[in-house]
């Protein structure tokens, strides 16, 4: 007897037989109905096989009803849209859907990796750790790549995902996870208060398994209450229901994340602009977990053969999609619930017998089965299954608890088995953020205990298996949750309806169904189907001393990966309990980790991909730079023009041209990124004296001064020019990268330490577009711009400031220089920036003005020996180290870092000091960061005495120049030191002053 799964002629509450849907599975054209899942429609086509197992490549079929499915993992979608490892039970079919099975090569029915199954004697738990130990190098190059190819699940798409994803933040007073009768009832009770209620359910249809449970509510069956409940909830403005949305994790402060599959089921939505997935970031007042319970498989020999399913899944397929798992079946159970599956099968005209491991069960459903003439074998188990790609027969044997192996057995032909080992409350979300659980002997499972967060579990998730009790619990919890968020929340006044349900007999735990043969040899009793962990693996781990359940988990991979132990956790503990003689609560449980089920990387990234991956800051001249063909470099989040190569010009040539243009004619630099901070108040001057190493209280109105800033440790953190705008009013410039950091630093000192100072600090960086006009012709360019102020050297000397107008532009002009040339920095309100830039270019045309980028800027300053914070300093560099002791006041009573500079270590000998370097061969350009050594040896290690901080080819000098921090550098002028480079070359360089060009500074004052 080997019937195939098939579609029944009638029935199917979810499907629309008038709406045909066609799709492909492994390239095979199949069809189903609207309302089918991939699982139900493939089964309906007569196919049982869905994939190969992880380690042994055993053929596997469908087992579960929903997100607990561990075997039927499929890849869905083509090219960049391909998403692996989806549970076929949750994939809704639509026209054009393309799905593939996983972990098989070359095909599902003929799989080379299945050889592993023959080798399985040699592949026990911990096999990888034991076998692939030697030789060491083989792991990386031989073993791991081979294992990765043979094991593993789906493959990731290699193309770019063309779809959009997004995040959504929401706050709700009460969040209900799970839209079954418990969740919906609780939501209604909570919503009556007027508070905001969010209901999340992972399925497309609400109601949970209401359609699969026994009993009557009022005049109808249990599921009948769902549609009206949903209508009432949708009518309430304060309730929002998210279907196809999985609550994937619960975190601190009742922060919940949920992944919504917005458009997977309907490509038309994607085309209309919907995101494929949406990640919800939910802040909840109170969380109600109504996540239900998942059925446990039973560990019997070859319990993983295609055709062996959970009893609830068989019932679900029959009721919802009218799919029969075969034509002759066995229901194997240790509890009453699975009897419902037997009844459903019989009603559908499918032959079925019942095997119940209990000796004398007495529940109403059992009585009914006996009365109705079912063939029930009490005190029996299935001891063996025959068939590889499909179940062909089962052996039934008498069973007593504690029995090690089977003596006599009876062979029964069948083509499917519906198994039920009891139910486990879904505790994942309860446990993610530290909820405690306790073992319940009646359920033979864990249920929620205490939790530090505002979270309550109800219904089956709380271990409450009766419908009547579930509804009472839901109403009470919904109201209580609303009250806990708002003490004045109104009561719901909803009255519980009368419920009739069968009396249930007790479940008897069955952790292991023995098989024939000495020590069950040759039989596999699977516990964790997804990770291919068997009872024997767990027992072996125990014998090898992996006593802690957490160690066993890692050694055997029980309950790991995408499955997170949904169906395997308790069964595994049951086996360990029997192997060790300890009770399950003594063994404890492993940690449940988010996500509950895997979700896409697209959802994690949300909208922040492509252009939105990283915020890029643009100056007012950004577009001009782009149009001019500038090469950009990142400076913090800014993009600054690095150089402007002309057509066909390489970068180095462009940089050289720009530098010479500044030295010989005039150049224009976009310096808008410089930090600008207005500082005002009666104590402003004193405040600046404290934050800078040098003195600003003596600065005259309209004058500029370069300042050095240290932290409390005496190390340089920033530098820049500060201008005195008025007696109590200054404008500070910081480095581009330091703008935000320094204004926060100043605020911190004012707010926390120097609260007596009357000083206000307002960052104004972005108010101004600021440009440097630098070069011998700078003044002449400025003159063409019709300044309303005197440009003469006498009226406007180096390090002074003017406010006025250039033509129609209100400007602040600072005569300051970072190039060593005559130089003016011109600032105008940012929205006028591009206009002024264009005007300067026009005014400078006759003088040969050219824009220059940041690399030219760096070479120009290096030729003059000007430091850059972050190049010449590394966070442990003092002003003394860089030769700027002249800028450290000896008169001021105190300033930040002053005391630290007195430390012996910072004052002592052998500090690395900043010096200039001229290589022996003027064409040798030392690499940035190259190390100088005390003595060159044949091979490392060599004692290092310092490193290059900046190094360039100087077009001005026609040779290379560099700066370096060298041990006792200031005392070593003229000394020749060695830099061994990669490849064995040694560059020798002479220590010099850092000022390579225009030593007397005449050009700056010209």
């Amino acid at each position: 007897m080997s019937g195939k799964p098939h579609r029944l002629a009638e029935g199917g509450s979810r499907i629309d037989r008038n709406a045909r849907v066609s799709f492909t599975f492994d390239g095979r054209q199949l069809s189903g109905f609207a309302g089918d899942t991939l699982a139900s429609s493939v089964m309906a086509s007569g196919q049982r096989l869905f994939g190969r197992s992880f380690k042994y490549h055993r053929p596997r079929g469908l087992v579960g009803l929903g997100s607990e499915e561990m075997n039927a993992l499929v890849g869905v979608g083509l090219a960049g849209r391909h998403e692996p490892n989806l549970r076929a039970t949750q994939v809704e079919i639509h026209d054009g859907l393309a799905a593939v099975s996983q972990n098989r090569w070359p095909s599902l029915t003929f799989d080379v990796g299945a050889f592993n199954n023959k080798l399985s004697r040699f592949l026990p738990g911990g096999f990888y750790y034991k076998t692939f130990m030697w030789p060491k190098s083989f792991w990386k190059h031989v073993y791991e790549p081979a294992i990765r190819k043979a094991a593993g699940l789906g493959r990731a798409a290699e193309e770019r995902d063309p779809d959009a994803y997004e995040h959504m933040h929401i706050h709700a007073d009460v969040v209900v996870v799970g839209g079954g009768i418990a969740g919906l009832t609780a939501a209604e009770a909570a919503a009556a208060s007027g508070l905001r209620v969010l209901v999340i359910d992972e399925n497309a249809a609400l109601g949970g398994i209401a359609d699969l449970v026994a009993g009557r509510i009022g005049d109808g069956c249990v599921a009948d209450i769902v549609p009206a409940l949903v209508v009432r909830l949708n009518a309430m403005g304060n309730v929002h229901i998210l279907a196809r949305t999985t609550a994937i994790g619960h975190y601190h402060h009742n922060y919940l994340m949920a992944a919504e599959r917005v458009a997977d089921h309907d490509p038309a939505l994607l085309a209309a602009g919907a995101p494929r997935h949406r990640l919800w970031k939910i802040r909840a007042g109170h969380i109600i977990l109504a996540t239900g319970a998942l059925e446990r498989p039973i560990a019997f020999a070859n319990n993983d053969r295609p055709g062996i399913m959970l009893a609830s899944a068989v019932r679900g397929l029959l009721a919802r999609q009218a799919v029969a798992p075969g034509s002759t079946g066995i229901v194997f159970t240790n509890n009453d619930d699975a009897y419902l599956t037997a009844f459903a099968l019989k009603s559908a005209g499918i032959a079925v017998r019942i095997v119940d491991s209990r000796q004398r069960p007495d529940g109403d459903l059992v009585t009914r089965a006996v009365t109705e003439g079912f063939d029930v074998s009490f005190g029996s188990v299935i001891s063996k299954v025959e068939g590889t790609f499909a179940v062909k027969a089962a052996k039934i044997a008498a069973y007593r608890k504690g029995q090690g192996r089977v003596i006599t057995e009876k062979r029964v032909a069948c083509d499917f088995i519906a198994m039920s080992g009891g139910f486990n409350p879904v505790l994942h979300l309860w446990c993610h953020n530290g909820g405690k659980i306790r073992f319940d002997e009646q359920l033979a499972s864990f249920r929620p205990d205490t939790h530090a967060d505002a979270i309550t579990a109800i219904g089956a998730a709380n271990g409450t298996m009766s419908v009547a009790e579930t509804l009472r619990e839901a109403l009470a919890t919904g109201e209580a949750a609303a009250k806990s968020v708002n003490a004045r929340a109104k009561a719901s006044k909803i009255k519980p309806q009368s419920v009739e349900e069968p009396k249930r007999g007790a479940l008897e735990p069955l952790w292991f169904a023995p098989a024939t043969g000495g020590y069950n040899e040759g039989n596999k009793h699977f516990i964790d189907f997804q990770n291919d962990v068997t009872v024997a693996d767990l027992e072996l781990a125990q014998r090898e001393g992996y006593e802690s359940v957490e160690h066993t988990k890692r050694y055997t991979t029980l309950g790991m990966a995408t499955d997170q132990g949904k169906t395997s956790n308790i069964n595994g503990l049951g086996v360990l309990s029997e192997a060790t003689g300890k009770a399950i609560p003594e063994i404890g449980t492993t940690t449940f980790r988010p996500p509950y089920t895997p979700y896409s990387f697209g959802a994690i990234a949300g909208a922040l991909t492509g252009k939105l991956f990283l915020p890029v800051r643009r100056t007012p001249i950004f577009q001009w730079h782009t149009d001019r063909g500038a090469v950009f470099e990142p400076v913090g989040q800014w993009r600054r023009a690095y150089t402007y190569p002309a057509l066909g010009e390489d970068k180095q040539a462009a940089i050289t041209r720009e530098i010479l243009c500044v030295r010989n004619k005039v150049g224009l630099l976009d310096a808008s990124t410089l930090g600008k901070i207005e500082i005002k108040g009666p104590d402003a001057a004193e405040f600046l004296d404290r934050v800078y190493t040098n003195t600003f209280s003596t600065l005259k109105m309209g004058k500029c001064r370069y300042g050095l800033m240290m932290n409390e440790l005496g190390f340089l953190t920033d530098d820049g020019v500060t201008v005195r705008l008025a007696d109590d009013h200054f404008l500070m410039h910081t480095t581009s990268g330091g703008a935000d950091r320094i204004s926060a630093w100043l605020e911190e000192w004012l707010q926390t330490e120097w609260t007596q100072y009357k000083v206000f600090v307002t960052p104004v960086t972005e108010q101004w577009a600021q440009f440097a006009i630098a070069g011998p012709k700078a003044r002449e360019v400025l003159a063409r711009l019709e300044p309303d102020f005197d440009l003469s050297n006498e009226a406007f000397p180096h390090m002074s400031f003017k406010a006025g107008r250039l033509g129609g532009h209100p400007v602040r002009v600072f005569r300051i220089s970072f190039s060593g040339e005559q130089s003016y920095e011109v600032a105008t309100p940012a929205n006028l920036g591009q206009g002024l830039w264009d005007a300067i270019i026009a005014a400078g045309r006759d003088f040969g003005i050219e824009p220059y980028g940041t690399e030219a800027l760096h070479v120009l300053r290096a030729e003059k020996g000007y430091i850059v914070i972050g190049d010449e300093t590394d966070g442990t560099t003092t002003p003394f180290d860089v030769g700027l002791s002249g800028l450290v006041s000896k008169k001021k009573a105190d300033f930040l870092g002053k005391r630290s500079l007195e430390q012996a270590y910072l004052k002592g000998p052998n500090r690395k000091q900043l010096v200039g370097l001229l290589t022996d061969d003027p064409n040798d350009v030392l690499p940035d960061g190259a190390y100088a050594v005390r003595e060159v040896k044949d091979k490392p290690p060599m004692e290092m005495i310092g490193q290059v901080t900046s190094s360039y080819l100087s077009p001005t000098l026609g040779r290379s120049i560099a700066m370096a921090l060298i041990e006792n550098g200031h005392a070593r002028m003229g000394e020749l030191i060695s830099f061994p480079l990669e490849g064995g070359k040694v560059v020798k360089a002479k220590i010099t002053s850092t000022v390579f060009y225009d030593q007397d500074g005449g050009r700056i004052h010209a």
């Binding site: 933040h169 007012p620 207005e678 019709e786 033509g807």
Partner: protein, 200 residues
């Protein structure tokens, strides 16, 4: 009379971005808004009086609020900082008048009209669009018209001003304008609407 090439040319950060008709809320740059950053101590009576004498209103002291008088709006930024908004053409004069009135007092008043870009969202789902990029509880009654607060929006610092129930101004620093605009184009894309909880 300056040469024409020397006349100033006004160009806001989003001038190069066309408005899109593929968004489910309307979004546009408000370019004609002047902005003045005012700092002073709310406990300093002379300062508060001087500010009122120029603005015609009391500076709001309640966190996250704003006040308005004619076309002048004052947004609370911190216990000692306000953002005054007005017509751009009037901003410099208003800042100058304010500085004069505050002479001799401990205060700092700066015209920062060009420092930020202002993007206006208008439409029934404006709040929802903001919630795609910020953690704020905008469906809540805590955000009535007039509410002002700083927020992390997508990946950048921003200032939120609820102008009317369905009208929201988002202020971002000028350099981030393009990023914020790009984010909003994506967040407000037609077809990506989300039904969210209605407000209490």
């Amino acid at each position: 009379m300056p040469n024409t090439w020397l006349e100033s040319r006004f160009e806001t950060p989003l001038a190069h971005r066309a408005t899109s008709d593929n968004t489910y809320v309307s979004m546009r740059e408000i370019s004609e808004r002047g902005m003045i950053d005012l700092r002073g101590l709310a406990t300093d009576r002379k300062f508060m009086v001087a500010a009122k004498s120029i603005l015609g209103l009391d500076l709001p002291k309640q966190p996250r609020t704003s006040a308005s008088w004619g076309d002048v709006k004052v947004l609370w930024l911190s216990p000692d900082q306000w953002l005054i908004t007005c017509a751009r053409a009037k901003a410099q004069a208003l800042a100058d008048d304010m500085a004069t009135a505050l002479a001799g007092l401990h205060a700092l008043c700066v015209n920062v009209s060009d420092m930020r870009a202002v993007i206006r969202l208008e439409g029934e789902r404006s709040r929802e669009v903001v919630m795609k990029g910020a953690t704020l509880d905008l469906t809540d009654g805590n955000y009535p018209p007039g509410t002002v607060r700083r927020m992390l929006f997508a990946e950048v610092a921003a200032l939120l001003h609820v102008v009317e129930d369905n009208v929201i101004d988002i202020y971002v620093f000028r350099s981030f304008a393009d990023y914020a605009w790009e984010f909003l184009l994506k967040a407000a894309r037609k077809g990506s609407e989300v039904a969210v909880l209605s407000r209490r």
